[in-house]
Symmetry: C2
Subunit: 115 residues, 2 copies
Amino acid sequence: METLSTQSAADVTACLKAVSDPTRLMMMKLVETNEYCVCQFVKMFGMSQPAISQHLRKLKQAGLLKENRRGQWRFYSMNKESSHIALLLDILGHIEDSDAQLQAVRAKEKPVDCF
Amino acid sequence: METLSTQSAADVTACLKAVSDPTRLMMMKLVETNEYCVCQFVKMFGMSQPAISQHLRKLKQAGLLKENRRGQWRFYSMNKESSHIALLLDILGHIEDSDAQLQAVRAKEKPVDCF
DNA sequence: ATATTATATAAGTCAAAGCTTATACTCTAT
DNA sequence: ATAGAGTATAAGCTTTGACTTATATAATAT
């Protein structure tokens, strides 16, 4: 079903810029259904920890991510209260679940107590 | 209504990159209902002709625009056969029609035989 | 208090993006 | 054939973006 929520062109652009990077788009697809900590993303994407942190920061600054601290971990999940949520979900809905990259990333998922 | 069309994450990213610029997003919103020639865009956006041409080229290379030559003009319109059309329309649907920037740009629209 | 693990931030590098100016191409009119 | 208008492309400049390495912060465990 289509959402009726609209926003300014500038707001739409801000959201698009946040997710127009392959890593960040994939991150948002992942957190659509789960929450992940930084170390999990590092394993899944095979990128350095600072690179992952920086991507997460951009998504958080765009209001798309919610941060949840538990112990020494910080878990990130989709911010369902985001002003961009309708647009975001529409975009994510266009990614096929069978996407090879997406499945490759998910295949590398490890529990939090990873080492 | 929601479209069921999905594509690879890479394809979605390519589309998002094309429209994640304020000028290009606005261009796509404009060509949703009309076709425009380069000189019209120049007037509407108050940008140089090469800058406009370069934005149009990006959108065309992403498959979002159709080019139509008539006389010495080149008219650009939305490519309804684009593989990204469903995603694109979803995105554009989130821009409010009352958007100030959009209305400001539309207010500067002039007929083709402009000088 | 110290060490360890998880994460963030700072600073630097390199490539890409968006503009500019200058020039080339294309069509029309003379 | 030449000139002029509309548009594209090339080259250069400047800013931004995505990484790197190094360091700082925060929580946990000893």
